[in-house]
């Protein structure tokens, strides 16, 4: 019985106070999501409507965030751009995790040839620098919301596969899985009933992180002109447009940049918190 006094017991933290640290990011993300959903119904000016006379105007009473270099209302462009970013940011990793998760779980559970194939496939995908692959995909598949989502989704497959594979391997050898096998449960049943519920929390935590990564990736693609095609607003595209006017009308670039930054920061924060709650290393199972 060695309660070696040289190692003090760790001080456990009981309860999480609802602090500013949690409330602010949550509020921001909620705002973005809310505006993205209700964009069509709150009476925003048409984001594509150009008023060249009014170009590059700083924020004013009429144009809350000013106008861009083609005279379009920045506020509505940002809100609609947020909608685009969110759609891509949520759907792409979801798609990736669906497929990647399936691949990973199969690899981790069946091992052998399946594992070899899966790992090989993952390695090939990972052998490309991510952005380069995304660029090539979109360039040659054609630019559209769907293609961008698809391309970014495919790129998140390796990460998802790795997480689910590692977690599956950790769980597949546990006794309760063996027990299920001995009572004659089929592989499918074991995978869905026993392993999936245990792998899901880790996957969810990773998904949250992936959302912010994909939003940035979509921003990068749009910034380069290879993301969402022109008239549809996107934060990355707005930043690229604003770049030319940095000396005369910096708000056209800086405002969308700030919005994107705040969104990604908030998502990262929330993702961190969720991960702290859900991290399998802390589980008491």
């Amino acid at each position: 019985m060695s309660a070696s006094a040289a190692e003090p017991a760790t001080v456990a933290r009981r309860g999480r106070p609802i602090s500013w640290a949690l409330a602010l990011p949550l509020a921001w993300v909620a705002l973005v999501v809310f505006l993205a959903i209700t964009a069509d119904w709150i009476g925003l000016p048409d984001p594509a409507a150009q008023e060249l006379i009014l170009r590059r105007k700083p924020p004013s009473a009429e144009y809350l965030l000013g106008t861009d270099n083609l005279g379009r209302d920045m506020l509505s462009r940002i809100i609609y751009g947020g909608r685009t970013s969110l759609i891509v940011g949520i759907c792409a990793p979801f798609f990736g995790f669906l497929i990647g998760g399936a691949i990973g779980m199969s690899a981790g559970y069946f091992r052998g040839k399946v594992d070899l194939l899966a790992v090989g496939f993952i390695d090939i995908l990972l052998a490309f620098p991510t952005l380069v692959l995304a660029l090539t995909f979109v360039a040659y598949l054609g630019q559209s919301l769907f293609n961008v989502t698809l391309a970014l989704g495919i790129l998140s497959i390796p990460a998802a596969a790795r997480v689910s594979r590692a977690n599956t391997m950790a769980w597949a050898n546990r006794d309760f899985v063996l027990a299920a096998r001995t009572i004659g449960a089929s592989n499918w049943r074991i995978l869905t009933r026993e392993i999936l519920p245990n792998v899901l929390p880790a996957m969810f935590a990773f998904w949250l992180v992936a959302v912010s990564v994909i939003i940035v990736a979509e921003g990068a693609l749009s910034f380069l002109g290879l993301g969402i095609p022109a008239p549809q607003p996107s934060w990355g595209g707005m930043i690229a447009d604003g770049r030319e006017a940095l000396d005369v009308a910096p708000h056209t670039a800086l405002i969308p940049a700030a919005v994107m930054f705040l969104t990604v920061l908030s998502l990262n924060f929330l993702g961190d918190m969720v991960r702290n709650l859900v991290d399998p290393r802390r589980s008491t199972l």
Binding site: L126, V132, A220, L246, A257
Partner: protein
Amino acid sequence: MHWLARQVLRLAVVLFCVTLLTFLIVNILPGDVATAILGGLATPEDLAGLRADLGLDRPMLVRYFDWLGSALSGDLGRSHRSGEPVAQAIVDRLPVSLQLMVMAQIIAIGIAVPAALLSVRRPGGLFDRLSASAAFGFLATPNFMLGILLIYLFSVTLDLLPATGFSPLSEGLWANLESMILPALSLGLIEWTVLMRVLRSDLLTTLKEDFILLARAKGLPPWRVLLQHALRPSSFTLITVIGLNIGGLIGGAVIVEQIFALPGVGRLLLGGIFNRDLILVQGTVSFIAAGFVLVNFLVDMLYAVLDPRVRHVRFRS
């Protein structure tokens, strides 16, 4: 099979698959190439003729192996736009991209290592919390956004540095650095966050070891304990992370070269994509991907050299 031979074989297979995949993606719509070159007003006969010339009517795999054969002997074809050999174009621009990435990495390490060491001196103290917050903030910043911000700050507002353009070393070291510092910062100021976190975590673990206690028992001052005893065992993960991040660094270089108009490989690639220059894109992407695979391979080897245990694990699996 001997472990090293297995690794090299694996490398070859990956390279093969990577170039094949690139070829397939780029050639998904072969018809466009001919149209892109000749324009929309070309007659179908002209288009067909050009396709035959370029060998676009042959089966995909045949074309791939043809390309592969030439590529292995250094010939990556000629660009449609400029007629310049692709391989030459890449080689001309490679130094710029390399300089950018190396400078970014140096900046990142130069910030991360002192930040980690200072954080670890008093874990949970003021500096630790500040640097953790700073790391969190910078990590959430997309590199293109940071680039724009830096331009706004240093070029537009303070007028200290050029916003775009590249000065080669031949025009003087100072001019060269002036044109490269903002681009390198755009990448390095984000990269450091990951490096610092990893190093800090590793240092904290190392500092709990008994040999650190013994070093303190010898009467060594804390900074010496950190530098001479704790740093070296903790740097293994740092090296691994640097290796893992190179892919992101390459992608970042593409963006940054575009923002700052640097004549690097990334900008070449983008130009090729916009111009529908199929052969150029194919060669460039293959080159980048192959280079990336090779660098990863070397990092793996380096790690095995540094830590003999890794060799045994790999061999057994």
